[in-house]
């Protein structure tokens, strides 16, 4: 392409003043040059570096908030540059849109050229066949027309595309080379389009689901949703998933003690409201697929169940509360209980859940991930939880800036045990625990087309390498009537790129066969010239 463009550029008279159209054409040529595409590809790689160095909104909004707190001067500046949302940043979009345009602008005209050349008939035979890389002349007693008819028939039988004229036959074979090339180029464009399809219409989400609970695949039902650019709330496939129970088994002895051996999440799901419920055993790397959406099991943990009664005797909290694992060996998990509507004061609890609680040097730890000896250890607070100001809060953090700690018995709670709060503020009971799973929900409509495109691109490439385009020309002329061989038959061959080799043999075989079809052939000092 660059060569063609260079040639085109040379043909242009060196302009002193480019008109607007001239500038546009110049710009388009620059954009669609291979060099620009490579520079853009490099820029794309460079531009994604901040995405892995800095916390990203879509992946970990909490970490972004922490970064803002830690770097109050730098963070707002970076924020204005979209450094916390690199893959959604306008400048990132600018790079990939330019890259797409550049590649499309480079590949599309090439694809059209290839399509044209694949349909082209063979060219007229050159006048002087002996100048071609492979050339042989034969003498025969057959008339030129008979010789040409024989050559034409033989070439057609060998599946050449044949064109005849007065005194000549030209034939071409190996169009599959162009077809392979064309397939490769189209598949390359399709691959780009598939990636774009995924980025525009796909989405990713996360949801933490406690055993017994149900979630709906909707913007409000997902904890985190990262939609593609053209995804709206109504585009999410309306399925629901219920976690019936979660089973985890761990290695109980030996060096691998505590390592997970088996996870299974028994799910029930329906593909839309009112559709029949189905069952599915969800395991690691065996996603549930609903309507093309994949639901992966990516994590698990414990959700202790608490019941809180406030100072007025009302039950103000009664639910399983997901705690987040701090470590994997014993699944010591941390979490908070928020009771903003308790009376007379709002209540908050922060603490840890220990599946197998043991005392190590006077400190509590969990010795095993299974709930063999479950205990909960909590610190209690009373006051304003800061939730009424309307500022969204994480459900895993307790803002204690307007709360005071309550003096309660520090002993860890066993299931069924309670903390009695001082000053008649109420009571918390540790009822028991449930398990939760964390699910990753991904929809990428471009995934399958991308796979097909990649396979097609590879197949096209292999085809274009394996098959070579070659031309064979035959001219028959009347020699002197009294000669031993009244007709001179010239045969010449031409191949474009003989990377795979083998044309020399094919040509020799062809000439041999042609000699066989001619009546009384006389080989008149065959000249076999091997081209450069």
């Amino acid at each position: 392409v660059t060569q063609d463009q260079a040639v085109l550029a040379e043909q242009e008279p060196s302009p002193i003043r480019l008109g607007p159209v001239g500038w546009l054409r110049w710009g388009w040529r620059q954009l669609t040059s291979m060099r620009t595409a490579l520079v853009l590809l490099f820029l794309l790689a460079l531009a994604s570096i901040p995405g892995s160095l800095l916390p990203q909104d879509g992946i970990n909004p909490q970490a972004v908030s922490q970064y803002y707190a830690a770097h109050p001067a730098l963070a707002p500046f970076l924020g204005r540059l979209s450094a916390f949302n690199v893959f959604g940043a306008p400048w990132f979009a600018a790079i990939y849109l330019l890259l797409f345009t550049s590649l499309a602008g480079c590949v599309l005209p090439r694809a059209f050229r290839l399509a044209r050349s694949a349909r082209q008939p063979p060219p007229i035979a050159p006048r002087h066949l002996s100048r071609l890389p492979y050339a042989v002349s034969l003498g025969t007693s057959a008339t030129p027309d008979e010789a040409l008819a024989g050559a034409s028939g033989m070439l057609t039988a060998r599946r050449f595309r044949v064109r005849s004229g007065a005194g000549w036959v030209s034939a071409e074979k190996g169009y599959l080379h162009e077809v392979g090339n064309l397939v490769f180029h189209i598949a390359l464009l399709a691959l780009l389009a598939s990636v774009a399809l995924g980025a525009l219409f796909g989405y990713k989400g996360n949801r933490l689901l406690v055993a017994g609970d149900t979630f709906a695949n909707s913007p409000t039902g997902l904890d985190v949703l990262r939609p593609g650019r053209l995804v709206s709330a109504g585009d999410l496939q309306p399925f629901s998933v219920t976690l019936e129970r979660f089973t985890a088994r761990y290695v109980s002895a030996g060096a691998e003690r505590g390592q997970p051996a088996y996870f299974n999440a028994a799910l029930r799901y329906s593909s839309s409201p009112g559709a029949p419920m189905r069952s599915y055993d969800l395991q690691v790397n065996h996603p549930l697929i609903v309507d093309g959406v994949r639901v992966f099991l990516i994590g698990h943990g414990y959700a202790p169940v608490f019941k809180v009664t406030d100072g007025t005797g009302a039950v103000v909290y009664d639910q399983a509360t997901p705690f987040i694992p701090l470590e994997q060996a014993g699944l010591t998990s941390a979490g908070v209980v928020k009771v903003p509507d308790a009376r007379p004061e709002g209540l908050g609890f922060a603490g840890v859940f220990l599946p197998t609680a043991v005392g190590v040097n006077g400190r509590l730890a969990s010795a095993f991930p299974s709930p063999l000896f479950p205990r909960v250890s909590l610190v209690a607070y009373a006051g304003d939880l800061g939730m009424d100001g309307g500022q969204p809060q994480s459900v895993y953090n307790l803002d204690i800036s307007h709360m005071h700690q309550l003096a309660v018995r520090p002993a860890p709670l066993a299931p069924g045990q309670s903390i009695i709060l001082p000053h008649g503020l109420g009571k918390l009971t540790f009822i028991g625990y449930r398990q939760w799973v964390s699910l990753a929900i991904t929809y990428d409509p471009g995934q399958f087309p991308a796979l097909i495109s990649a396979i097609a691109a590879l197949a096209g490439l292999v085809l274009s390498f394996a098959v070579r385009r070659r031309r064979v020309f035959v001219r028959a002329t009347q020699a002197e009537a009294d000669a031993a061989a009244p007709t001179l038959v010239e045969v010449a061959g031409l191949t474009r790129s003989d990377a795979a080799g083998g044309f020399e043999e094919e040509f020799a075989e062809l000439v041999g066969q042609l000699g066989g079809t001619l009546d009384r052939p006389v080989r008149d000092a065959p000249v076999l010239v091997k081209g450069e």
């Binding site: 916390f84 979009a93 650019r229 639910q319």
Partner: protein, 193 residues
Amino acid sequence: LDRLARLARRPVAVALAACVTAAAAASCSARAGGANQGFVGAGAATSHYYPAGSRPVAPDVRGRTLGGQPFSLAADRGSVVVMNFWGSWCAPCRREAPALAALARHYPQVRFVGDDVHDSPAAATAFQRAFNVGYSSLNDPGEQVALAFHGTVPPQAIPTTLVIDRSGRIAAVVFGEVSYIGLRALIGKVLLT
């Protein structure tokens, strides 16, 4: 991991395309960014009013209230209904609660109903006591009621508030926290049509 979803990205994409061509990246970074910061910040909301004739039909949602009473939206055909999707854990819901409770008292002829998602009846009942909410809410921990609005005007965030007209069609929606004045204006408009 706040459970606030955000507005559809369709306008963002259009804005982005405009930015790229105009090369005025700075002017549009605000909406394009912040995937999960949630557009439902304090006081921030977007609302949409559907003129009569272009109103999507609301589904007939059924369920049980936090108090255990059966509820059917279709039974309220003939009155204007305000449906508020909320949770006791959701800070913007807590901030808008006094406005909703006051409007429910101000418009006795309008049926107010809540849809309590991702929540437990105990915490939700404590919320209703704390904010003196006079109307009942559906118990919807698995968002099945919210999901029934798929294909019409699905809630895009918690809170979301729908105003449904007398013929059971969705006349207005507020994504995010409502204000007393803003919601009163929408209800007044729907009552007149």
